[in-house]
Structures are given as structure tokens and as C-alpha cells.
């Protein structure tokens, strides 16, 4: 253009760019039915705070950490569909601490779960020992179901030295750990023997009368007991029922399967989906009738609340998520639990000093301080938080022969704190954390609901 020519008139003004209403940048990308986590990946500004929270990365130099497993991996996938999922994703223990760490709200654990699912379904050899072992561990409910039919035999067989040696050599299940004992009577057997819902309704009515509440008050909850309190620690389930009835709640124990937590952690998303479908269907019907879903295991409540709606699209799934609560949390919201605990005292077996460990899965629900804050006002019992480190077992993770050492190394800080704590009885909401606490310290471990029962139920 020569100096003599003037540029043609245009509408374009670089100082006030086109901010027209009609243009929506998000529409540039096509809608996708599969998991497209790119928007979440773009919220990551690489501050690396998630990495400082990852208990695995802290002890395992080969593990690249949540930032890589999540947003960075999804970006790589985004530019190249054939990009393989990095096999290190199987070293993530699914503690989900990175979620709570991210100041930018990146859905890290959802990314990890999805990546693990894809890795297992597309890259893992289904005939490998690792796959078979993981599948058996993830489907704990199935093994527990059979074992509970013959609890005494199972208790013997599962901790029979030579058999465990064979399991370690052939399947890679560590022989260092003691298998959890199976109860002689499952929670559901106890529940049925006791008279199920009909009996619970009667107990709740009697309690409401005692408390001066309307006898027909609409107080009802559906108990998601999970596998562990059914097969291994029915005392936790019983405590839940008795505490709730004491406050005048009618309890039902609907049909349910595994929450899916061990399956998410092992990338067995199809298995998890099958179980989730049963759970969502029975819980959503009850929610429609005005029930809230209550779980005593924080991994179960986490699964129903967060992982289900993040990973699956099942009818009623959001409704169930919105109406699921952890057992103590629900009472804190709806009852004067603090006041009742302050007025109560405990004696006998549970008049103890407890070394409390908050499970990772209670953290994301904001429940990690709940038990400590509730029980510090309880006469007759003392409770001390043993710090914020992860216990290290992370469900099936610590059961794997090749992960056992790492799992104990992660847990070391907790063991030390337990050792230094005044009490020699442990307390936690999570069954596998309890296993690890017991394994590393030799302490007996109780659930907060058991202490609540001792304090509040006649």
C-alpha cells in the first residue's frame, strides 16, 4: 500500500473488539457423549498443590502425582485419541485428597477414575495375574458373601499361613496382613431376626413418645450399611440402628450391593456400574418416599454422593447423591447432637481414650473433624486426633503384595502419632483404615457410632 492510498473503511475497531452476544466460544467444540474432561483440565493452572497432598507421591518416587494423572494426561489425550493412558495411574490409591486440595476446582479424582477405567478396559491384559487379583480384591463383597456362610471356616482358612503364602506367590495378595474376621451373624441376619422395619418403626415410635415428639413424625432413614458392617463389623450397623431409633428415626435396610469404591480404585468401572445400578434404584425409590440415605462408612457415602454422579448416568443418581449423608453428620444437622453428647457420659467398655484417625474419604465431605469436635465434650471418654496423614491402606491398595511396603511407609506417620497418643484404642469411620491402624499399632479400633451408642442409648 502506498502512502497515497488511504486504507478502506472497515467496521473493525481494535480498541473495542467484537463482544457480540451471539458468539459462544464453547460452541466451537462439538458436543461429546464420552467423558470429555478438557474443561476441567483447562482450569488447572499448575500450582502443584495437589501433588503436595498426594500420599503416594510423598513416598514413591516413581509415581508422577495427581497433576500428571489428571489434567496433564487429559490434555495429552485431547490432542491424540490414541494416546495410551500412562500405566502409573494404577499406582494412584484413590484417596481423593487431590480434590480437596485444588484451589481451582479441577475434578481430579474423576479424571483419575476415568483414566483408570480406560486403562483397565483397553490396555490391561485380562489374563494377567494382576488383573485377576485386582478383580478378586475389588469384588470383596462376593468373597465376603461366600465366606459369611461359613464364617468360622473362612476365618481359619483366610489366615492359614501356607494358604496365604500360596496366595501371595500366585496372586500377589500380601501375606503380611491378617484377613478381617467374618462375623458369626451378619448385620442383615441380625436385622431380620430382630424384626426388620416393623420392629424399627415400633422402636422409633416409642422413642418419639419418650422424647415428647409427635408419634407419627416423619423421621425415617434408609441405611446403606455397605459390605463391611454387614459381613465383618455388624456391631457398627447395630449401633447405627440403635442410635437412630433413639432419636426417633425409623430405619429401613434396603437391598444393596457394594458401593463400588474398591472397583473405582481398580478401574473396574463395569463392575462398579452394575452394583451402582442396584444401589441407586433401591435408594432412589426410598428418596421419593421421603427417606434419606445414611451410610456409616465414609467411602460408601463418598461413592454415593460424588463418584456415582461423576462417573455414571443412571436414573435417579443425582437425587440419591443429594439425599445421602454420613450417619453422624445427618444427626448433627437434624438433631441437637452436640447438646445431647455434652449432657451424656460413658462408662464401661467404651470409657476410653481414643486415638482418632480421619479417613481420606471423610475429608472431601468435610467430616474429618467431626468426631473429634463432637466427643471432646463427652464425659468419660477422651479423643485425640492423630494427625492428617493418610493411613496408607486405601482399601485394596495395601493388600497388593507390591504395594504393601509403600502402604506401610505412608501409614508410618499415623502409627507414630497413635503411639504418642494417650489412648490405646483407635477410632475411625473407615473399615480399611481401621485394618491398617490395627495392623500397624495392635490397637483395637472402634467406630464413632459405637461410642455414640454407648453415650446416648439406654
Amino acid at each position: 500500500m502506498s502512502d497515497a492510498e488511504t486504507p478502506p473503511e472497515t467496521e473493525f475497531d481494535p480498541v473495542a473488539p467484537n463482544t457480540g452476544e451471539e458468539f459462544e466460544p464453547v460452541d466451537v467444540f462439538p458436543d461429546s457423549d464420552d467423558f470429555d474432561l478438557r474443561p476441567g483440565a483447562d482450569s488447572c493452572y499448575k500450582c502443584s498443590t495437589c501433588d503436595t497432598n498426594c500420599p503416594v507421591a510423598e513416598v514413591d518416587d516413581d509415581f508422577p502425582g495427581p497433576k500428571f494423572q489428571g489434567p496433564e494426561q487429559w490434555r495429552l489425550k485431547q490432542s491424540d485419541d490414541d494416546h495410551d493412558i500412562d500405566d502409573s495411574v494404577m499406582d494412584c490409591s484413590n484417596c481423593m485428597r487431590c480434590d480437596n486440595a485444588c484451589p481451582s476446582g479441577v475434578p481430579l479424582s474423576q479424571m483419575h477414575n476415568t483414566a483408570r477405567g480406560e486403562y483397565v478396559s483397553e490396555q490391561m491384559d485380562k489374563l494377567s495375574v494382576e488383573y485377576i487379583r485386582n478383580r478378586i480384591l475389588a469384588n470383596y463383597r462376593t468373597s465376603a458373601f461366600f465366606a459369611s456362610k461359613v464364617p468360622r471356616l473362612a476365618n481359619f482358612a483366610m489366615n492359614f499361613g501356607p494358604a496365604r503364602w500360596v496366595m501371595e506367590k500366585t496372586l500377589g495378595v500380601t501375606s503380611e496382613r491378617d484377613f478381617p474376621e467374618f462375623a458369626r451373624q451378619t448385620f442383615r441376619e441380625w436385622w431380620a431376626d430382630r424384626g426388620g422395619q416393623v420392629q424399627s418403626r415400633e422402636n422409633a415410635r416409642a422413642a418419639r413418645k419418650r422424647r415428647g415428639l409427635a408419634e407419627d413424625a416423619d423421621k425415617k432413614v434408609a441405611y446403606f450399611h455397605g459390605c463391611y458392617s454387614n459381613y465383618n463389623t455388624p456391631e457398627v450397623g447395630k449401633a447405627m440402628v440403635r442410635v437412630y431409633e433413639e432419636f426417633g428415626y425409623e430405619v429401613v435396610a434396603p437391598e444393596q450391593k457394594c458401593s463400588g469404591t474398591p472397583m473405582f480404585a481398580n478401574g473396574m468401572l463395569e463392575d462398579a456400574r452394575r452394583h451402582a445400578e442396584t444401589n441407586v434404584s433401591s435408594m432412589s425409590e426410598l428418596v421419593d418416599e421421603g427417606y434419606h440415605a445414611i451410610a456409616s462408612c465414609t467411602s460408601c457415602s463418598m461413592a454415593l454422593r460424588q463418584e456415582y454422579p461423576e462417573l455414571f448416568d443412571i436414573d435417579g443418581i443425582d437425587k440419591v447423591a443429594e439425599n445421602t449423608f454420613e450417619a453422624v453428620e445427618y444427626l448433627r444437622i437434624h438433631e441437637d447432637l452436640k447438646g445431647e453428647v455434652q449432657a451424656a457420659d460413658v462408662d464401661g467398655e467404651l470409657a476410653e481414650e481414643f486415638a482418632y484417625h480421619a479417613p481420606c474419604h471423610s475429608r472431601n465431605q468435610g467430616l474429618d473433624r467431626q468426631a473429634v469436635e463432637l466427643f471432646r465434650d463427652l464425659d468419660g471418654a477422651e479423643i485425640e486426633d492423630v494427625g492428617d496423614s493418610c493411613s496408607g491402606i486405601s482399601g485394596t491398595y495395601g493388600w497388593k503384595e507390591e504395594k504393601y511396603e509403600k502402604s506401610m511407609e505412608i501409614g508410618e506417620e499415623m502409627f507414630e502419632h497413635m503411639e504418642h497418643a494417650e489412648g490405646e484404642t483407635g477410632m475411625t469411620e473407615c473399615p480399611t483404615c481401621a485394618m491398617q491402624m490395627e495392623h500397624g499399632s495392635g490397637y483395637e479400633i472402634r467406630h464413632p457410632l459405637e461410642l455414640l451408642e454407648a453415650a446416648l442409648v439406654e
Binding site: S48, A57, V59, P103, Q306, A321, E322, I333, Q365, E373
Partner: protein
Amino acid sequence: MAIESEVLVIGGGLGGLTSALAAAHEGADVRLVSYKQSTLRQASGLVDVLGYTPDGDGPLTNPYEAIPSLPESHPYRKVGVKTVRDALSLFDDAVPTYEGEHTETNALLPTHGGSIKPTARYPAGASAGLASDTRDTLLVGIEEMVDFDAPHVAAHLDATGVPFDVRGETIRFPGDLRADAKVTRYAKLLDTNSEVAVRGRMVPAREALAQRVNPLLEDEERVGFPAILGDDNPGAIRDAVGDHLGVDVFEVPMGPPSLPGLRLEDALFSALDEAGASIETGNPVVDFEGEDRIEKVFIEKNGAKIPNSADQYVLATGGFVGKGVESDRDGVYEPIFDCHVPHAEDRYDWFEGELFGDHEFARYGVATDDDLRPLDASEHSEFENLRAAGSVLGGYDFAAEKSGSGVSIATGYAAGQRAAQEAR
């Protein structure tokens, strides 16, 4: 029913934590709720009060003397110099591992960029590194940690005219950690003092680190590392490495994720726990109920809205980065209570063309009365039982003034104390 307390503090950063601590010390039943983990782990761990005036004069020798001449809109002017001092002493009591309370004069600390920062309080781990100290200094960088290029940092420091000789060397961290190892990995290794292989021999990590530095040390009397020297036992690690080297050892604060920030977070949360407050992190406050008074707020957990009620509330949700203040094409707003945020109508007035220009957005935040109650557009208080603290407040530019921590601590202290007095 709802989860009840006398004072509910929303936000887990320095402002929220100080607020909750001050309220608890007044005897109130306090509950602190924070969406995510504290943003303190993103902070350097240095606590500045005022390093430069809004006109850019400085570094200031005495921050307290400069406060009365700040603009009236500045949060320090709302609370007054005495409150700033009282708030700092609350901080000193809560975090005994910090230094600087012996003087009103700003300390000068080297940063990981090689500049000098005027600051009022600093972690004990940084104290041997003071720029006013005349001892010659060796800075040691770790090959894999690209955020701290020691020779480069040393050259920058030298250029600022520090009164000592400074040199930078780079080593491989013992133990052959992966190239992008997390800072917590280094810290854990030194905390546990686990053995690492050095030339085929197993040596405890602290000693091994000293062995790597020893041949590089000439006649310097102090050695600075990037802040990776332990999470649980930083003092013991500094002492051990320093003993092996025969010099004083210090840490240079780093960018996020920052171990000094993490340690400060731990110290303040423990202080809060000891004061008997309740704490919840992991879920956001999304909504509230009430007209002139806030009756209750709702914490969202995956769709479920959990009611929390209190007599008095403190809003300490942070500024733009902490998401306590947000903006879109229509304007700037405070997302929970929709408190008024004064700002220029035209978006093109929010910022300046120059990157380091005097951007207006840096000062955006809620305006308050002298009692720290947020004001609406017609300068009436938004709610009678809500106070604001920390970087959700407008009227100051913490990045330019180096006043972020001080404002959070001073306004947090004032808001927490007044909320407690009113609730009691």
C-alpha cells in the same frame, strides 16, 4: 435444624484463620468453613505489613508510621494502627516459630527471584538469610528444581547491592529422585532422614545433602537452600545440615506449592484447634437466608445443601484468585452474599495497558464501614451481622504495597473480635 455456632467464619486463609482465632480468644463458639484447603499453602510464608506506599515509595523502614497517611479507603485506615499491632501480637502468640517481633522495622528477606522483600514477620528457617546480615552467602540450587536457579538468584541479589558476597551453586539432590519430584518428596526424605545411596554407600539424607554441598563451600558463613528442608522437623534438618557444614543454614521462600506456607497453615490450624474452634474444609458456602440479618448459610455437598446458622458472620473468602470476588462481562461481584463491589462501569477502565501499570482491578473488593461491615451502593451496611476481612476487601493493592498478610491479619483480628463481642 442447622449446624449452629455463635460466630461463623467463611474462608480458611490468613484472614479467616485470624478472625476465627480472635473470636475464639474472646470466648465465642466459633466455626470456620473453607471451600478448599487453605490457600496458605500457596503463600510464601512471609508476613508483610506494608513494604511500599500506594505511590510506590519504599521499601519502608517502619510500616506502622506510614499507615496514618494511607488513603481513607485503605483497610488499615478502617481498623487503625493499634489494631494492626494487636493483631500482629495475636499472630506472634499463635505461631511461635516466627521471628521479627523484636522490632517495628521491616526485615529485608531475599526471595527466590533474587529480589529483596520488606517483611514484618518471617519463619525461623529464613532468619539466617536476612539481607541486612553482612555474612557472605552461598546459595545452593537443586538441579531438578528449575524454580530456583542459584547462580541466577545470586547474581540478582548481588545487583540489588546487598552488603555481602553471594554466590550460587547447583547440586544434584542425593537419592536420585525423579526430575519432577514433589517438594513434599524432598521434605519427607529429610524429615525421616532415610538413607540414600551416595557413591555406593548408604548415608542418611541430611548428611548426604551436606556432603554434596561441602566441596562447593568456600569461606561463606551461611548457606541458603530453596525451602524444601522438611515439613515436620525443619529446625532439626537445618541444624543437622548446618552442623555437617559448619555454617548457618537458611531457606529461601519459594512459590507454590510452598512448604513454609504449609507449615504456617499447620501452625494456625493447630492454634485454632487448641482454642476450641470447629473447622470444616472441602465444601463451598453457596447461598444464604435472611434480609437485613443473615439467618443461615448453606454449604453445598454434592447437591445437598447443609444449613449452618450463627449469630455473627465473617466473610473472608479472598480476592479474585481465591474466588471471593469474581467478575464477568457485566461487572464485578461478591458471589455468596452478592455484596456490592464498587468498580468502574466500563470494563476498559478496570486495567491499564502496561503489564505492571496501576491497574484498578487490583484494588477491587467490598467497601466497608469502620466496623468492617460491607456497604451497598448507597453506602448503607449490607447486613447487620456480616463483617469482611482479608483480600475480599477493596481499596488496597496488596501486590504493589506488599501488605497482603498484614491486612488479612489486622482485619481478620478486628472482624473476629467484634463479631465475638456482639455475639456474646
